[in-house]
Each structure stands twice: as C-alpha cells, then as structure tokens.
Amino acid sequence: MSNPFEYAPAPESRAIVDVKPSYGLFIDGEFVDGTGTAFKTVNPATEEVLAEVAEASDADVDAAVKAARRAHTRVWSRMSGAERAKYLYRIARIIQERGRELAVLESIDNGKPIKESRDVDVPIVAAHFFYYAGWADKLQYSGFGTTPLGVAGQVIPWNFPLLMLAWKIAPALACGNTVVLKPAETTPLTALLFAEICQQADLPPGVVNIVTGAGDTGRAIVSHPDVDKVAFTGSTEVGKAIARAVAGSDKKVTLELGGKAANIVFDDAPLDQAVEGIVNGIFFNQGHVCCAGSRLLVQESVADEVMDRLKRRMATLRVGDPLDKNTDVGAINSAEQLAKIRELSAIGEAEGAERWSAPCDLPANGYWFAPTVFTGVSQAHRIAREEIFGPVLSVLTFRTPSEAVEKANNTPFGLSAGVWTDKGSLILSMANRLRAGVVWANTFNKFDPTSPFGGYKESGYGREGGRHGLEDYLKGTSVKGADS
C-alpha cells in the first residue's frame, strides 16, 4: 500500500454489450455484406480485436445512396413533419433506454472513460434527437423554408462517434432528408448499434444508411453525384479536400474542422475554477476534442501560481481503464494517433519548450499518453500552431487584454476560445474581440443541442445545433422577405 488513498477498481461491466464477431453494412433497412475487404476494430485500451467490420466499396456506397434517394422520394419527404417527429422521438427514447449499453460500447471501441460516455456523450445524443424531433413539424418557423435537400452524405470522426452521428442525423432527418453516414474506421460499433435502434424504431428502410470504411469510402460518399449535401466533421486537411471535391457542383457543404483554442486566464480569475476549466478544456476525452483549449494563455502575474496549481491538479488525474468509473483520462484512440501526439511532443521539446507530464503508471497494453503540459512556449512553436489532438497543453503568457486577443487570434483556426476573469465587462469585450465560433467564459467544453456550434476561418463553415443547424439541410437558404 504505497498510497492509502488509492481508489479501489470500480469497473463497469461490459457484459451488457453483445459485440458480434463481424458486422456488415446497414443499407435500405438491412444489414448486408460489403463487397470490400473487412477490417478490424480494436479496443485501444487493450489492443483486443473487438470485431471485423465491412469496408464499403464504391458499389456499396452507390447502393446506399440509391436506397436513401428512394426512401427520400417515396416516403420520407412525403411524410408530414409531425410523423417524422414521432420517429425521431422514438429514436431518442430508445437511446435513453439502451443508454448504458451505448456508453459501454462507446468506451470499449473509442477508449474514452465510461464517466464521460455515460454522463456526457449519451445524454447529449438523446437530447439532440429530442431537440430536432421537435423541429420536424415546426420548420415553417425556422426561417429557412420547409423543403429538404434530398440525400445527405455524412462523414464523422472517431473522437465522439455517437455524438457526431447525432449531430449529423438528427437535423437531417428532422428536415426531411435521408442520410448515408460513414463512421470513422476506428470507431464504427456504436453507429452500427444505432442502425439496430433504427430497426427497433421501425424507421422506414433507406432513411438512414450506415456504411463503414476509411478514406476511400468517405471520398465515394462526398463525390457521389446523387448526394445533395455533404456534412463533414474532422481534420482541416480533409475538409479542404472536400471543399475542392464539391467545387462546381450544386452540393451544399458544412465542415466542422480543427481548432487550436486559446484558453485565457486573467489574474483576477477564480483560480481553482480556472484550473478545473483548463483541465477540462484539454484533458476531457484525452484532448481528442476539436474545440479543446490546447493553448493556455495566462496573465504573467499569476502564471507561476496557475502552473503550480495546474500541476498539482494534473497529478491527481487517474489515467487508465476506460471502463473504470473513477478513470479521468482513458486511452488514445489509435496507435496512429498516439504516434502523432508523440511526434509533436518531441518537436515541442526539440524547439525548446519545457515538458512536464503528470506522474502516472500507464498500462502495459493499449495506447496511452500521460497528461502533459509545455511551458516556455512561443507563438512560433509548432505545438502552439498545430492541432495535436491529444492530452498536451501549450502554455503562453500575456500582460494586457489586447496582447491576449492578439495571441489568441494568431492562428488560422477559429473554433473556440475560453476566458476566465471575475470582471463582466472584460468578459464581454474579450468575447467580442475573439474570432471564434464558441466562446466559453468562466466555463469550457459545454455543449447543448439548442446552441449553434461551428468555426470561423479554417475551422470550417456552417453551424450545427440550434435553429442555425437547420439552415444547411433546407432548400430555402434564408429568412425570406415579406412577400414569400
């Protein structure tokens, strides 16, 4: 007993989840075999192979798009909004009923702590379906018209597999579109469980189609000529490729891309709360968050004190088994992502920043990275400019609010920002001057289905969530003048 305050293991049982040895594609209401080669999805905490998953070929994607088109023309776009709403409410309810199963499956496929999948991901997923269900029969009040676009091709990332699915599918269906969605190749399982939920809800065949695969499958969806709308969440690099691919077509596009958010702490901030916010900002979901507060900007006068408190707090973070209910930081999602985090961290050291990692024993198997902070970072350092997408925080200092704004905005990204101060007028002036789609003041990483989310500049375009989230799934693109 080296530490008498050590927590006893408190693992969630995974018996609730029945993972099949292999999965097909979900097309036209049925699970079908893909024509591509199957690939494996692993538990990143143990490297255990969970299942084999089909890779959708161009022909499979084409079949899915055809099914979606048929469902759109014959059923879904003809149905009244009130009836569509009922299906979405059913889905929301089943998600709540099967919430524990979804949370466990999400944690074993993704590596995120059960605490987060259970208390954050799944409840917000259900909330999204509830929120958009209510819009289905009220679209005439949205200001964007009531006519759906048709078939939406949607490609989502691995950091919030089920939540990103909800962000994409709920508004699309509410507006009367049908979808072909591709989950990330490392985290396909909850999307396939969602397909079962669609079956349980008796959703008409073809309204939701799930095709699994990697980049080639995604490209086939995005460039399919019969897809009317492309929605993508992921890296800025892929986002640019998609923007190029749809150029000259009639496809509508929304892109939710990378970020390098500044989390700005002023000297009058409540420091303990700020430290919690810093921790939440960068270590939530192992830092696999596009809006993560990965650049900490601290006012110089309190920099030492904030760093002391931050390191003390970081030392208490429990890193390990994602299914343990006491775990704060789970596994890195893939070997590839771990390599990227290690590489950028090594570059941080090589460029002269000082590295400190929380002392913790990492499990022997699986992909792990200890919560890490870099001090002495300058704006030119790559760790201050590039998205690391891992539990790595870069710390810079500033003296005046204007300097903080300059540094915060000195990035091609513009997804989110944080401000910590006791002074209301300072919060409001900072919020005005920060070029980012979300500004959290005295809080961080908060999400809600009623609230638009999306980026400025190279963090992409379009908004998801809220009334704004309907805009790019409807044909009328704007609030019409009085005569229409």
């Binding site: 150029a247 809080t443 992409g460």
Partner: protein, 286 residues
C-alpha cells in the same frame, strides 16, 4: 464653334483613393453602338493585392462601428446617389443603350436597395441571432459577426447588380474587393466616387476594373481573403477553378447565380452567407 467636352479618365478605387492600375494598362470600353466611351483601368494582380490590404486594414474599424453608424453610412451612400441620379442615368443609357425609363428604374432600384440594406444593419442580429435555452445553469447567446474580407465578382448591371452584391456585405461589417462587370465597368467607378464622398471609410469597398479571368484567381487564392462571392462569374469552368482555389483557406463561397432578377426584393441570404455565428457561454450562479 461647338465646345469640346472634357472626357473622364476612369481609374480604380482602392483604399479610398483613385489610383491608375500599377501595371499602366487600360482597356477600351465601348457604348452599346460600339463607339468609344472611355478607357478603363485594366487591374493587375498587384492592384488586387493592394485592394486586399486596404480592405483588411479597414475591417477592424468598420466591423467595430456600431450597427447604427453603419446603417447611417450606407443610407448616406443612397442620399448621395440620389443627388447624382442624372449622371448615373446618363451613364447607363450610354453604356448599355437602355431607354431613359429603364435607366431611371435601375437607378431608383439601386437607391432603394441601399436604403433597404441600410435598415438591416441594426436588425440582422435580432433576426438571425438568439438566446439559447440551454439545459443547465448557463446563459448563452448566439450573435452574427462578419467573416472579414470578401472578394466579389460583380454581375452585369454596373449599378444595380453591383449595389445588390456589395450593400449586404458592408452593412453587416465585412469589407470588400469587387471586380466590376467587365463589359460595363464605368458606372462602378462613378459609384466609387459616390462612396468616397459619403462617409464610407476608405478601404471598406474597393473596386477593380478589368478581366475577371485574370484577377479573380488571385483573389480566390489569397490567404487574407475570407470569402468569395462568385455571382458574376459566367464561365462554369472558371467558377469551379475559383471555388477549388478558395478551398486553400476554406473561404466561404457563394456560387454563381446567372438568372438573378436584380429588380426583385432580395432575401437575407446575401447577408447571412458571409456572417459567422458566435455563441458565448457563461455560467449562471454566484
């Protein structure tokens, strides 16, 4: 003996100034019957870059003004245009060969459009922004903000077309670099004179005359441009190329709209396409 008229030298409008093209080039602009109207400046890549610098410099000040003040300035443009309506009617008749009544209708519509958009400056936030009913102890607000510097390929219709694409961008706080209609550029520069004398800060609107195909690619690939409005691009291959170039820094793109009826009342889309939505969160509590 009859009086020799004083012909006008048309230049560019950049940063509130009227420079010639740095390239020293110009091109012939004929009237509807093929007679020389004037030589217009043939803008170069350098002119386009200078215009972006001017638009970027103007952005902070312009977007930082109160919406009320932006409304006043845009309304002032309408006032000055009204005062010079005969000049525009004459220029439209000469350039496009339209009848007097048609020319009058275009000028009327251009003035009315400026007035319509001026009124939006302090209302768009209320119409497209909102407080969100968050499920938790938080207060959050979503408000629109301008995207930044927008490049515009203006459609034909050197007065009404131009006003219809520029006004929605500037009332919302963006600054713009416009490539005027290639065939009918002259009225655009005269409109620049109206803007220059109507309290609009230099650099908020910059007008380039010349070849769409030559200048637009530089603007589409410019890393300090945040959006591009392709309304006036008539060549589909060029439009696709510009959209591809715009992807380099994820510019917001408005695709060409060849059959737009400029006399019809517009909707909000021309404003919202180049607005971002910012959501600000704060906890509720002690």
């Amino acid at each position: 003996m009859s009086r020799i008229d004083v012909r006008k030298t048309y230049k560019l409008y950049i940063g509130g100034q009227f420079p010639r093209s740095e390239s020293g080039r110009s091109y012939v602009v004929n009237d509807a019957k093929g007679r020389l109207l004037a030589n217009a400046a043939l803008a170069s890549r350098k002119d386009a870059r200078d215009a972006v610098v001017a638009a970027r410099s103007a952005f902070g000040g312009w977007s930082g003004r109160t919406a009320y003040n932006r409304a006043q300035v845009v309304y002032r443009v309408a006032e000055v245009l009204e005062g010079r309506r005969e000049q525009f009617e004459a220029e439209l008749r000469a350039a496009e060969g339209v009848s007097s009544s048609r020319a009058r209708a275009y000028v009327d519509a251009a003035i009315d459009r400026l007035v319509w958009y001026a009124g939006w400056a302090d209302k768009i936030t209320q119409v497209v922004g909102n407080a969100n009913p968050v499920a938790g102890p938080y207060f959050n607000l979503s408000t629109p903000e301008p995207s930044g510097v927008i490049a515009v390929v203006a459609p034909r219709g050197p007065l009404l077309g131009l006003v219809s694409v520029v006004a929605p961008l500037i009332v919302t706080g963006n600054t713009v670099v416009v490539i005027a209609s290639e065939q009918h550029p002259l009225t655009a520069i005269t409109l620049g004179e109206v803007m220059a004398t109507s309290d609009l800060p230099g650099g908020v609107v910059n007008v380039l005359t010349g070849s769409q195909a030559e200048i637009a690619p530089w603007l589409a690939s410019h890393m300090d441009v945040n959006g591009i409005d392709l309304t006036g691009v008539t060549d589909p291959a060029l439009a696709t190329g510009l959209e591809v170039a715009a992807a380099d820094n994820l510019k917001r793109v408005r695709r060409p709209a060849p059959d737009t009826d400029w006399l019809a009342e517009p909707d909000l889309d021309r404003m919202t396409r180049f607005l971002e939505t910012k959501t600000v969160w704060h906890p509720i509590g002690v």
